[in-house]
Symmetry: C2
Subunit: 167 residues, 2 copies
């Protein structure tokens, strides 16, 4: 197969994956499950996880489309590591989802709408993004340290465990 | 009750909550559920959600202690909004958990170990933090926009919905 054909197929695959994410955004929103966001995780050209925003229906502030799709893909593949996978999100992921995508070791992000579209629709993560850049003491959300000596104990025990698995 | 006594009780409550988070970190890790992290969500002095790292046992890269505790609290309280609540985390939350705590509208964070302790134990979110500060085009994790016209459709429909709920 000539390279041009392969690239064209690849572009068609990408469009299909993104359209699936957008369709999930619309159907989930219209059912009242949550905001207008959808996502799919793809490996080797096949969708292995689907998600849409379920914040309202699940009473779960972490049930963003991307998180739901990552969890579904991991459940299906039986792993917490999604290297070799790409995520297609109907909108540029928020900081929570972006960090989750990092932790999951996803290879690449594709998105359709920019984050300013989410902000304009009332889902404004701009202030979170600003906050995440600040050191803890300068954030509006107060974060204070207590029991620092006792807080070292889990790590001390972790260091001594022979069976520990990093991720 | 004199104010001093109240403050002392409050300090004792905080210590008890943090000790619960640290105990969950240790027990979860020793069972092999995941890394050495625990968290509890507290409202009106009572623990309403418990969590420990379950990344390995659940095959879920998002199952950090704080996320698990937030979801448990929301399930118990039947809401996706945790204003009026505080979270006690055995370690300074990673960017994913910090953003989740923001989305959940938690009032305040208490933590025991600093994030450098997690990094030293092999859970290094330093590069995520750096990445989150960069614009999408400058990140190591590639993020590309496609189908931008179609990506606007969920938001168009959202704007027309009469029953939409913001969160």
């Amino acid at each position: 197969m000539p390279p041009g054909r392969t690239i064209k197929n690849r572009d068609q695959d990408k469009a299909l994956s993104m359209r699936a994410a957008i369709a999930l955004a619309i159907s989930g929103m219209e059912r009242g499950d949550g905001g207008p966001f959808g996502a799919v995780v793809v490996r080797d050209g096949r969708i292995v996880g689907r998600g849409w925003n379920r914040v309202l229906v699940d009473h779960d502030p972490t049930a963003h489309a991307e998180i739901v799709a990552l969890r579904a893909a991991c459940r299906r593949l039986g792993t917490h590591v999604l290297s070799g996978c790409e995520i297609f999100a109907s909108c540029d992921p928020c900081p929570m989802c972006l960090a989750a995508i990092h932790w999951a070791r996803v290879d690449r992000i594709w998105y359709a709408a920019p984050s300013r579209a989410a902000a304009a629709a009332g889902f404004d993560d701009t202030r979170f993004k600003r906050e995440l850049r600040l050191p803890p003491g300068k954030r509006r959300l107060p974060a204070r340290r207590i029991l620092s000596a006792e807080g070292a104990e889990p790590f001390r025990r972790w260091a001594k465990m022979s069976t520990r698995t990093l991720y």
